[in-house]
């Protein structure tokens, strides 16, 4: 069969890289980088996933069609996250004078009474 056979050393190297990246991501978790913690951890996870997909799952040696299908899954994932967050994160950005916002990035659970913009609490209320 035409399947590509990688040398064992490739698999051991990838395993070693994954271990090193795991140590890095755990170490970084104990350093407060503010808002950067999340992107750093996510980037390392994406890098690890890419190594697994390319070498352990043989996508590097697969047909273009397989590569396309594999890539498409992440495109759809980005659409799901991107469009949903673009809605929720932008709520409450623009409020007309005298208008109200009940949603915004804050959740109000309880009676559906409109909240005055000026009286909106900073912290998210208890659900």
């Amino acid at each position: 069969m035409a399947g590509h056979i990688s040398p064992k050393s490739t698999y051991y190297t990838i395993f070693g890289s994954l271990m090193v990246l795991t140590v890095i991501t755990v170490s970084v978790a104990f350093i407060n980088l503010g808002t950067l913690n999340f992107p750093v951890a996510l980037s390392i996870a994406i890098l690890k996933a890419t190594l697994v997909i390319l070498f352990f799952m043989h996508v590097k040696y697969s047909s273009s069609l397989t590569k396309l299908i594999c890539g498409a899954s992440f495109v759809f994932l980005v659409i799901l996250f991107g469009l949903t967050l673009s809605d929720y994160l932008s709520r409450g950005w623009f409020v007309a004078p005298g208008g109200t916002t009940g949603a915004g990035t804050q959740v109000t659970v309880g009676p559906a009474t409109p909240v005055e913009v000026t009286a909106q609490p900073e912290a998210a209320p208890e659900p």
Binding site: I5, A49, F55, L65, S73, L85
Partner: protein, 239 residues
């Protein structure tokens, strides 16, 4: 050697009459495929399409995770501190290790080393079960602390109700992942039995390859779950 995609472009040899060709073909080759390569390519593609639906399956839960994290960053920080980073880290090493043994198992099947294939697959199952046992201890610990979301949930902290949402997502994500691990271990058991029965040859080892794809996918899910649940919001609470 052209792969299966280019094989699609080949003209059919003689239509249905090709089934009556003179030379013997591999017993695993099904009549609607021209070559084993083409069959292997079609199987792999089908598995990848299944994995895309799996990505979206977990994607919905991850979307919920992201959204609640945006809403309740403090609770996410409190909640992630409740998780045992040592057990989580140990399980990460175990699962990445199982991906290595799985990849080596597929390689052994490719090169026709039947005994080595069985050995690597058994090791993969053992590591998978280790992961599940450790996960079981983590769940049991949560049970003892009444950290299971529901009527008996109790949590000391200013954002208990939101931490309950965090823990709900923790159990949904890790529970769905653990279910995939259980299915994976059963699948590996079947594949190992087939390998033991010498069903695979360097010409045909597709089930090992596909089971491997599934196993690596489950590993990738954990590669994301570990930092998202155990790590990202830890530092904000510590300092």
């Amino acid at each position: 050697m052209p792969n299966g995609v280019t094989a699609h472009a080949d003209p059919p040899a003689t239509g249905f009459g090709a089934a009556g060709h003179a030379h013997a073909h591999h017993p695993a080759l099904q009549h609607h495929f021209q070559t084993l390569d083409q069959q292997h390519e079609a199987s792999t593609l089908g598995m990848w399409i299944f994995l895309v639906t799996e990505v979206m399956f977990f994607g919905g839960l991850l979307m919920a995770y992201l959204l609640y994290r945006v809403w309740y960053p403090e609770a996410w920080s409190e909640g992630s501190l409740e998780l045992d980073i040592v057990l989580g880290g140990f399980n990460t090493v175990v699962l990445i290790g199982s991906s290595l043994t799985m990849a080596l198992g597929v390689r052994a099947a490719q090169t026709g080393e039947q005994k080595a294939t069985v050995r690597w697959l058994l090791l993969t199952i053992a590591l998978g079960l280790t992961f599940l046992v450790v996960k079981g201890f983590e769940y049991h610990h949560k049970w003892e602390l009444n950290h299971i979301p529901g009527p008996n949930f109790s949590f000391e902290g200013p954002h208990a109700a939101q931490v309950q949402i965090f823990l709900s997502l923790y159990f949904a994500l890790t529970g769905l992942h653990a279910l995939h691990m259980v299915i994976g271990c059963v699948l590996m058991g079947v594949i190992t039995w087939m390998a033991h029965k010498k069903r695979f040859t360097p010409e045909w080892y597709t089930p090992v390859e596909l089971a491997g794809l599934y196993w690596h996918f489950v590993d990738i899910v954990w590669i994301f779950l570990f930092p998202l649940l155990y790590l990202v919001d830890r530092a904000h609470q510590l300092s």
